[in-house]
Homo-oligomer: 180 residues x 2
């Protein structure tokens, strides 16, 4: 039987080229490494970013998709027709207070991370506004903690399909094996 | 009585201006928000970064220090005389397998995060090389997860001293109060 996994997609808002290129790359890589199905980078088409992430998927495995360009409001409104939207923000309800409710619904999740200047509508459209501490820090860290809680630490034990490279854990140096 | 807290300092290696400015800023802010005592950014003096982080401490509270410029080898070797060094790397022993041993020693921790091209000596000098998943992602996320585990989720309940601003958690919009 097994439990049907919910779908988890990350929406990165407010991406600006080149200012946010590296932070957005980290957001995308965290989304993949922590078990999301894919990432949508809204409002800006960024072919270089797509290439970079697809190259990681090619070497380290998937499945994981990246899409860039669609308007964030459209992505959120379409998602709300079938699932839930969780907006990560310094101003939201602390993660430990709300995570069990979010998990219990069993609905697909769109996890929204933005920049410092999120539009008011992003707060209003979301089913949940969730904080990972009430301090200013990083959407990269907030996303990692949220996905860690949402999936019970699954990221430590994930296997990716069609990987060409795999790390063998070591307390000294780098051990990487080639699988193809 | 109470339990004496260990000292936790983050060492950021491989910082390059301007390429890493935003990622390093996120590393510093995560160090503060997740309860480290301070951050050392090695080998490059970066006065702008110091100003930015000290400005966050001034508004959102501390204590938290930032130091930039000292050679990383010197920082690590001096730390080893009194405490332990934990190097976060994609190639290390998975966090869940080693965190209890790291916590049990009760020694002060220097938590080292670097860039993709860490020198071999960084792996060799560390007491522990620890991975936060075996996938490529982000030193910002790795640091957040490690500090979360090391301090049992303390970041969600921390109070900072001398803060001028404080967030009141809300499921809609932004509520910030001024404390002075």
């Amino acid at each position: 039987m097994g439990v049907k996994r919910i779908s988890i997609v990350v929406l990165r808002m407010g991406h600006r080229i080149p200012r946010d290129s590296r932070i957005t790359t980290h957001v995308c890589l965290v989304a993949r490494a922590f078990g999301a199905d894919g990432v949508i980078v809204s409002d800006v088409r960024d072919v270089e970013l797509e290439k970079k992430i697809n190259s990681v998927v090619d070497r380290w495995g998937g499945p994981f998709f990246i899409q860039t360009g669609p308007p964030w409001v459209k992505v959120v409104k379409e998602w709300l027709e079938k699932g839930e939207v969780v907006h990560l923000t310094q101003y939201g309800i602390p993660l430990p207070e709300v995570i069990e409710e979010i998990k219990a619904s069993g609905k697909d999740k769109l996890v929204v991370v933005g920049s410092q200047k999120q539009p008011r509508e992003a707060f209003e459209l979301a089913n949940y506004n969730v904080s990972v501490t009430l301090q200013p820090h990083s959407e990269v860290a907030a996303l990692a903690l949220f996905l860690h809680y949402l999936q019970n630490g699954r990221e430590f034990y994930m296997e990716f399909s069609n990987a060409k490279l795999k790390v063998i854990p070591s307390n000294r140096g780098k051990k990487v094996i080639k699988l193809v």
